[in-house]
Point group: D2
Chain length 257, copies 4
């Protein structure tokens, strides 16, 4: 009943908040600043188990979640954070069976999250103009085990969307307003759109395009996540925080009469 | 292919951000400050269609999403917001097939969200001490069409959790620290816990209990959502905002050796 | 040595955070929802004393500070908050002896604050195009006892500034960018400018004008003030907060070579 | 009329937001990563003038304000920021002539700011238990030219306050609640108290002590300052921000009857 770690599994070796390593369990040792861990020793042990490095430092072997994968993938692009992805998922109601158009694919972090939530019966159609970028995303999605739920398309979203009657369109690209008319065509009636943009000027242009195109329930928000340093009797927010990743714009398609 | 509105469907009649009504399509008229809408006229029309009240005000008939249901249910309790629920879902990696223990059930808003994401193969076990509250939640979950994925339990979480090897435990109750040892027992190795509390003192006690019990990757955060008023050439955040709903504490179970 | 309340003094009758009344001590009774207070009874009593209404509710008679006056004056315009004024004062280093140009005068809240800090040897030159508005500001400044330190000018700041070699220019008007060249002319070398604007678009235009004109140390910020509800064992931020008043832009004049 | 830079003056050599150097004008060269500046060349030039390093990089020679001095002094202690000091000054109405008790002195940053605003006729009484710390503060205050307005006292605020009928008490120390009874004794009726603390637990204890002692108008707040990166057409908040310095508690003395 307890799930055991197997050869070839991905494992998150957790030491503390900053030192968390995503590794594949193979017949090798994994080196860190706190010594090396013999990965084969994990095989047959339950997830959550503690393993010591040769320097007697304990790491916890956790089963990676979609959160861990996003964190790892997003670290490279450093823009779209899990807080933003979480809002998109819930605000658009993306769940098992949803058909979602997304782009640009980038590292595949957002596509991974979408795929995780639409499985086992839904599909993500992810557009990316750069073929080299798309291949990196393909590898990332394969590693995360979610490639089956994503159709990667080496096409430009600003030139059109091939899918019809999709449940949602999620945009993380420089000129989302150019995609708005295509998104309208692709969405089913009442279907949701989300767009992530770092600058307020992009938000203005996107909202303007959405209003023109006949979207309703248009809302622009920003989300701030603040960590607390909890010490009994001396609790306080952390001194430094991420003050901005980007703004989110949400909207839904109304049918033109 | 286009999804049509049917008799008995739930429809979100959308006028603007504040005036959005969740109604069941029946042979009756629905009255608002902007006139009444004949609901039967919606039958056979596509979602996203516009319908006029007798006062010639247009409402858009949207298909309600889990976001809309949460918004409606949470309005009564006014504490746990969708931003917080979204973070819980993604941070814990709750998806199709997850088995999740939750409590207190309250209005069922959080249970609905969890059920939406664990379907079609997962299950939510929702604990609530007050039987009258539980019956209201049952009706709410039935209306949302998610009751099949939730097992409602008229029991006290602080006295124990009956399930074993669950993927996640989500707490929204006054003394989460009393549930922490039971959560440890119920969770599988590496399984995630999330706790929502309005006060900082509750956060301190919860984190203290988590550390004592052997949880790792403990993180306390707060999430602020700020809306923008977008007018081309005059864009600014809204004057008023919700400055606080509560804090979230996340943790994962490590196996004691 | 203890300061006593005199006939004609302004007194802040304090009940709680929301119920705080600025009244002049005269031979009359002051009516509130918690009964009436005989103001003459305050005469000869020390500031900070408690006085009972006829309904036995206690009010504390405080000596109003510049903060109280600003709060009262700003309540009418509801835009520039004391947090913003405080930043302006300190960021520009406005103190005893400073000569400051300000506009638009509006209710006089900002002018009052500036006057409070430049006294006894400095001066505020406050510009306002609307003469009726200016007269209201004159009354407000007189009541606050700071009119001697303010020269009210019924002129349009966008048409020019008459003063030279001033220490600072503070703008709270719709098109601050139109005033930037005049501010440059009026300021002494290294002198500071502050501009308050509700929208991000105004900030862009102001910063653009400042860069063009040769200002340096240009900085745009926003300030969020969040109140805490402190109950021992149940402390938390307030549910609602002011999420936006406006942005502040600061800059200093560099001499063109 | 134009103020000229003199031998011995403090000058702020400004390159950009991060590179701003507070230097005394002497017969020497000042070395930076962008080359060296011959300081004597500044003598007789107006403030705001541009001066080139030997590498042809332009620095602007600004007259330092109290803001610049605070920024420099606070950099060492890294806790109390200018936003917090600004709120204290305005909230307590500290102006020319105010008599203020303050402690601990620390680097003297807060004492400098208070001195700047109480001059020319007020006084700051600054308490510090560590004599070595006090001597550093003395040098800092002398350099800023504000030592005449500060009486430095090598005493422990928790053991008592020697002054009476003061206008305000400002606390930046580990256990402000121990000073609250002394502050009550020292303040005149209606006089204001401000206390800065990094942790929420300190806020609880301080507020508890203030309520017990008979203070009114008690308010706890936190202030967040967020910088904007203004590029025309691409404006956004900075990615990183200071998420926490500390909380501020304000209160006023009511006379016990």
């Amino acid at each position: 009943m307890t799930e055991e770690i197997k050869q070839g599994d991905d494992v998150l070796l957790y030491l503390d908040e900053r030192r968390r390593y995503l590794v594949k369990v193979e017949d090798r040792s994994f080196h860190t600043h706190k010594g090396y861990v013999e990965l084969r020793e994990l095989i047959g042990r339950p997830y959550g188990v503690s393993v010591e490095s040769n320097l007697k430092v304990s790491f916890i072997a956790l089963k990676p979640t979609i959160y861990d994968y996003i964190a790892k993938l997003a670290r490279r692009t450093q823009i779209l954070y899990y807080k933003d992805i979480a809002l998109i998922i819930l605000r658009l109601g993306i769940g098992a069976g949803s058909r979602v158009v997304e782009g640009g694919t980038g590292s595949g972090a957002l596509a991974s999250a979408l795929a995780f939530f639409v499985k086992p019966t839904g599909k993500v159609y992810s557009y990316e103009v750069r073929s080299d970028v798309l291949e990196v995303a393909r590898k990332n999605l394969a590693r995360v085990g979610l490639l089956d739920y994503v159709e990667l398309k080496n096409k430009d979203l600003t030139e059109g969307i091939e899918e019809k009657e999709v449940d949602a369109v999620v945009l993380d690209l420089a000129s989302p307003w150019d995609v708005v008319p295509h998104a309208y065509e692709a969405l089913k009636g009442g279907g949701g759109l989300a767009s992530f943009s770092p600058t307020i000027n992009q938000v203005e242009k996107t909202v303007e395009a959405l209003r023109r195109e006949g979207f309703v329930d248009i809302e622009a928000v920003e989300c701030l996540l603040r960590k607390l340093k909890v010490e009994v009797g001396a609790t306080r927010p952390h001194t430094f925080m991420v003050g901005h990743t980007g703004y989110l714009v949400f909207a839904r398609k109304s049918i033109k009469s």
